[in-house]
């Protein structure tokens, strides 16, 4: 719990909130029709989390990642994952080179992972071996090869995408790796109105150049401000209860959870929710996290962390539905009022 003087004052929060607002404006201006998605992506960035995009080809996943890189003035690289992609292709490799003195030595050639923003396109097409190569980079932000650990440039984000169709020949991401993604965001098709704007306003779909870019120092301010967003105790308790309730058999688990969930969300999920909720609060210009911030990010955080059983598959139950149901059922404040007593906004 932060000290009394660590809670942000309005004048301290305002620059960061302004930066976030500007970033969001740029995103919304460049990529049309995905305001809510943009907010979550920005929250993920501010929370220094990795994001897994899931959507059909051509919906603008790469464009989004590229635009973020441009706005944040961060280095951006893309890897198209294929079954024959090797870990060295991602992490880098040692190459025998002759120096100017004529001596031969192994020189490390960094892979595309050495960047600020890595777009791992169709990550589920790579073999498990290659996928696992991403584990250390995503969690530790470093790469260890031949006993040498090399830190990745900061900030480091993996923005991966996977195609929900054409699943033949793919390797579904293991739970351990899925758990490392802060969000799993679904890319859905935009409506006709947006499509019309895209067609009429952008020749060959070329994206406009950002009119404003965030400086590195400004990004640091954003990260520092994020760290000072206050998480009240009732809210943290709510997050803990929410994550705990995803475990079948727990005290507050709902009937659908007990019926459909094999394994609930991990403690990393609780941390992710707390961080994402901070980002949501900052985006809304508040120095403290409220229950609504948690609700806004909970589904994106947990929808890839619940392991459902076969019964859920038979009943077409999804993790997203379960989380929504849980958010509706669980009393945020833990007042435990009797069922016949209700609170209502005046």
């Amino acid at each position: 719990m932060p000290e009394a003087n660590t809670i942000l004052k309005p004048e301290e929060l305002k620059p960061a909130a302004e930066l976030a607002r500007k970033t969001l404006e740029q995103l919304d201006a460049i990529l049309l029709g995905r305001t809510e998605l943009h907010r979550l992506v920005l929250i993920g960035i501010m929370a220094r989390g990795h994001i897994l995009f899931e959507g059909l080809p051509g919906l603008g996943k790469t464009a989004l990642v590229r635009t973020i890189g441009q706005i944040l003035k961060l280095d951006f690289k893309r890897i198209q994952f294929t079954p024959d992609l090797m870990p060295g292709d991602v992490l880098g490799t040692h190459i025998l080179q002759e120096t100017s003195s004529g001596k031969r030595e192994l020189v490390f050639q960094p892979g595309p992972v050495f960047t600020n923003i890595l777009l791992a396109d169709e990550i589920n097409r790579a073999s498990p071996k290659t996928q696992s190569a991403m584990l250390e980079t995503m969690q530790e932000n470093c790469v260890t090869l031949l006993g040498t650990t090399r830190a990745l440039p900061q900030p480091f984000f993996v923005l991966a995408s996977q195609n929900p169709i054409e699943l033949e020949g793919t390797y579904p991401l293991p739970e351990a790796q899925l758990d490392r993604f802060l969000f799993r965001l679904l890319f859905e098709s935009v409506d006709a109105e947006v499509l019309d704007q895209i067609i009429s306003g952008r020749r060959r779909g070329e994206l406009p150049t950002p009119t404003w870019q965030m400086e590195r120092a400004e990004l640091e301010i954003l990260f520092q401000t994020m760290g000072r967003i206050y998480l009240p105790r009732p809210v943290s308790r709510y997050i803990a209860r929410l994550v705990s309730a995803t475990h079948p058999g727990s005290a507050e688990a709902t009937a659908p959870v007990n019926r459909y969930v094999s394994f609930g969300a991990s403690p990393r999920a609780a941390i992710a929710i707390a961080e994402a909720a901070r980002g949501h609060a900052l985006l809304n210009g508040r120095p403290s996290v409220g229950f609504e911030d948690v609700k806004a990010v909970a589904q994106a955080v947990m929808n890839h962390r619940l392991i459902l059983n076969y019964q859920a598959r038979f009943d077409r139950m999804t993790a997203a539905k379960l989380v929504m149901e849980l958010l509706g059922q669980l009393d945020e404040t833990g007042l435990n009022l009797p069922k016949d007593v209700e609170l209502a906004k005046a």
Binding site: T6, A281, V341
Partner: protein, 462 residues
Amino acid sequence: MMTTHSHALQIFARKLAWLLMLRRAVRWMSAWFFVCGVLILAARIAGTPSLKWLALGILMCVPLAIFAALWERRRLPAFNKIRASYDHLEKCGGLLMAEETAEMSAWHAQLPAASVPGLRWAGSRSLLVLFVAALFVAVTMLLPERLTHLGHRSLEVGKIVDQLQAEVQTLAQEKIIDDKKSDDLQKQLAQLQKDASGYNPDKTWEALDHIKQSDSDLAKQAAEEAVQKTESLTEAETLAQAMQQAADEGMTAATASQAAQDLESLLNAAKLEEGVLNGKIPPELLANLNGLNKEQMEKLVKAMESNKNSLGQTLGDLAKLKMIDPAMLAKLGDAGKKGNSDELAAYLAQCQGGNCDSEILFSWLRHKGGGRGGPGAEMTWDNDTSEKDLKFQEHALPPATQLDAAQLVGVSKAAPELSANDIATGHGALDNAAASGGSAHAQAILPEQKQAVQNFFKRDNQ
């Protein structure tokens, strides 16, 4: 602004506390009313006489409600949870929650306008239950008694009670019991009929049997008394009539005086004014029995007749209710039959100088003068016992030697002498007769026996 939110938060917390306490109190009161109702109903069905304490128990709902509210007060949610709820409901975005840690006055401007969140209690069901519970208690208290005794199998004693009430009424009418006792018995009977239960009939039957036995005893006592009084009155009446006749035939004054004394003793023996059945002879007549003229004597006879009729009427009423044995009524009839006063009048007339024997007089009155067993009754004999076809066992007589050894003391030709001791005071011809010694028993022969004795000695002539 913050002050306003703080104030609104306080109001909200207070409202929530009151609502929860009220809700708890309503629930406990409902439960208490149901418990009270069940207890009262059970008590009434069980026939508990006093429901006062149970009714007072209903008033316990007030302290119970207070206790429930206090109990709920201790279980109220923590204030930080209430603040979190307020923050959430008012969409304060955690700013109010952060206030517990830091000074947030700089953010007041960012907060929405303060308002006290609403509290909705779906209490209609709880209040309905409370209403039903209160109604239940009221119904259990006001339920008619006949409905609370549905489980009782009443004991049908109406017929017996009616009969006993009639008996008591008759006893009271005949003055066998006084009015107070009659009222008590009627009340007892009414209460017994009311309390009669098929579950415990012994008590009722025993009580009814006791009253019936008591009535029967009184009736029996009255009947016996009536018979006795009637008997005495009949004797007195016969004597009075004989005295009237004898006076006409020249009864001496001495004999009249003696007869009047006997009449008085007979009336005294009747004890008309004692016992359960009271009769009365005019006292002016009783005071001067010796000097009654003919009219007064007739008046006396009528008074005795009236008393006898009254006694007969009483016994008749008792017999109608089967309170006495019908034989007792017949006995009364026998007791009321007068003897032939002519012979007694003749006897009184022949007595000279007041030498009439009272014992003879009373005996005659007891036997109602001549009759089948009186002195004038004819004697009859049956045929001799036939010895035909009878076989007698022969016994050898003892040898005569013993007779030879007997000693003749002497033969007296004179009449035996009687000493005073030889006159028997008791009955029986051979009483006090000595086996030897030359004495003989002499028995005084009563007038009524005289004719029988004479008939005995004249039998050969018949």
